[in-house]
Point group: C2
């Protein structure tokens, strides 16, 4: 089936999906879990086909590791379905209830967005996770996984499709898989039938999608995060947070890339750093190099996401300079200040234009599960719709619902009647 036809069917299905009760959506997710379990052998066999091909093509060990499934990993995926099933229903929530008049009630109610396009790389668990989140939130979706995981994705998707078909005919046409590189180009052009694109993968993938579609994109290309050590920082805390933010998991988007140090504390703080970060390659500005031995950093470093055990260091003369550096060179993702001065902290938290701003905490906390969302759709550095770690909320929009008694605007325009605008819930 052509991608355009899949999107058209998905749009048609989306109207039905919006009316399926939570119990039935959860039932479908439960059946997905059961079918994945029942088809464990088929799935692992399909994965072995992909793995063999990947080894033959000499794909990197990191990618091979991401691609690989075993029974334990599949059980984890199945367990995550049960987690999604238990999350509160994101639909039908009333965010506003207002009497416009005694006999005219306005409500704002959460609804599915409609049709989501998801493009992801290697990890087959993404296919299952995002499918379950779309079903939970009543959205139709078209999923394009990495070509290296094609057989695995097909086996997983067969279970998912079967679960939907076994549960309710209204799910028909709601989830589709796209398989080829040409399908991506087709998806990106379907701005009338796809409401939101979610890319999950490398910076290159996200940037490619952002640059080639008019469909709104939720995601982030770069994660250039900062920790700023203020002049009134607790030194031990500053070292501990810097180490956690850099080393606890350096390959992820919320790891720190540039450390900013106030000039007044540099002589006391910096000398301890090389030992604390013994496994990290340090690159410092000229003033940093007066305190510790390290490679020289250039402006290019301020704009670089290393995703590795490398840290750029810059000495700044003031809190304002730190904020300006972050707003200029950062990716508006996550930035943290370490200080005992609450006034300085408040200025930092207000002045730094990032989706997560932190005081005396590691940037690594910026994550949907750590924030308590129960599931993470992704992290967005866009300012529109959803920002920061995004849970199920990011997959819903709302509609206004008015219940009247034959009310007409002419009566209010003429002054015969007047709006009361009594807000019951906001």
């Amino acid at each position: 089936m052509e991608t355009r036809e899949k999107a058209r069917l998905a749009r048609q299905a989306s109207f039905q999906l919006a009316t399926i009760p939570a119990a039935i959506r959860n039932e479908a997710i439960g059946k997905m879990a059961a079918l994945l379990k029942a088809h464990t052998n088929d799935i692992l066999a399909a994965n072995e086909t992909d793995m063999a091909a990947a080894r033959q093509e000499g794909i990197s060990d990191v990618l091979i590791k991401r691609l690989g499934l075993n029974e334990q990993k599949l059980d984890d995926i199945i367990a995550s379905l049960n987690d999604v099933q238990r999350l509160p229903d994101p639909l039908g929530k009333k965010s506003l209830v207002r009497e416009l008049d005694d006999d005219l009630l306005l409500e704002r109610i959460s609804t599915p967005i409609g049709v989501i396009g998801i493009i992801f790389e290697s990890r087959p668990d993404a296919l299952v996770q995002i499918s379950s989140l779309c079903v939970k939130s009543g959205n139709a979706a078209i999923l394009k996984g990495g070509s290296e995981a094609l057989h695995t994705n097909r086996a997983l998707f067969a279970c998912i499709s079967q679960a939907l078909a076994d549960t309710d005919p209204r799910f028909a046409g709601s989830l589709h898989m796209a398989e080829t590189r040409e399908d991506i180009a087709a998806l990106l052009a379907l701005d009338s039938d796809i409401d939101l694109m979610i890319p999950r993968g490398s910076n290159e993938l996200v940037q490619h999608i952002q640059n080639n579609t008019k469909i709104p994109v939720m995601g982030h290309a770069d994660g250039i995060c900062h920790v700023y050590i203020d002049k009134d920082a607790d030194l031990e805390m500053a070292l501990r947070i810097t180490r956690d933010a850099k080393c606890q998991y350096p390959a992820v988007c919320n790891a720190v890339e540039t450390l900013l140090v106030h000039a007044d504390i540099a002589a006391r703080f910096l000398p301890a750093l090389p030992q604390t970060l013994a496994d990290v390659a340090l690159r410092g500005c000229a003033r940093t190099q007066q305190h510790i031995a390290c490679e020289a950093a250039t402006e290019e470093d301020w704009r670089t996401e290393y995703n590795d055990l490398v840290l750029a260091i810059r000495i700044v003369d003031s809190l304002d300079d730190a904020i300006a550096h972050i707003n200029t060179f950062g990716s508006h993702h996550t930035d943290s200040i370490v200080t005992s001065d609450s006034a300085a902290a408040e200025r930092f938290l207000a002045g730094v234009d990032s989706s997560s701003v932190m005081w005396n905490a590691s940037t690594r906390f910026a994550d949907g599960f750590r924030y308590g969302f129960g599931a993470e759709v992704g992290i967005s550095t866009h300012r529109i719709h959803a920002r920061g770690p995004v849970g199920l909320e990011g997959l819903v929009t709302y509609k206004y619902r008015i219940v009247g008694s034959g009310n007409i605007v002419a009566d209010y325009a003429s002054g015969a009647r007047a709006f009361t605008h009594k807000t019951r819930k906001e």
Copy 2:
């Protein structure tokens, strides 16, 4: 100054704007009102220049009427500034407060979006209104008005700029005017420095903008709204709502364009329609023509926004057919059902995929002021970010703010500490 440079300055200014307290933002809006009043003569003289040129160029009476200012109209504009001043502060609102641990607090706080691009036609009041809403919500903005209102807009903008400069130096660079058609193309290309485009004007303007930018667009091109007369409708109410929805102000987006009538009630309802809508040109489907004399409607009519005293009429055999017609041919703006059957109403409200859905009320109620928002930024038929009538809320996003005590992720990953996730406010 080049458009690119204006956008760069606006982005720089946006970082400062986010930190200006509400009292100062409101003070600036108050000064706008005072300066507009003090410069009434200059503004009306500038408007006379535009009006004279418009008359000479033979611009239509409708556009000339929109363009024209007088002292009363200007006083209304000034009064609207005072209304905006009195609205609650949209910034700093906490939509989530959650303890991640005893000493680690997460808050989600409303913030400005950043830099807004606004493109509007003829009406000079739009310049003042949108400027005040951007100042109120802490956003920087670049405003492009219609070239036929250039002198008026310049006179108004001079007052607005002066008011900002007189209030606080942190407003510097936050509001800019763009003047030429080339500036529009330049604006649309600045997706790294403009976060949201708001077009206000004709369908052609909105569609042009949607089709020529990667910047998210908030707005609506079409307003193809429906009233569906169910088989269990009160006939008198059905006629009253149909008349209001079509005739109370036919030129606007929330006026009805297509009337759907259940086959079972057609023989009783339709014969009364020509008299109730004596001033309206009716276009009916073949079955409608069996009941009343009217022009024949074609499928093209189902897709047409007349914005005029013209109404398309189609008989449908069921509620489901009505919903399917609306989801297929409508513009997902505002649709209403007239019925005494609550089960039918609930199915309609859930199944119609529009930003406002109504039961026994005129579609004309879909409006920010009638919904009690105090101001209307526009009406959006997009599903992302803001949907339906949009108040000040549409000009804000949020950031996550974490206050810790030196917390590091390694402690939670190792199990030494555990998240508590106690939600205080949601």
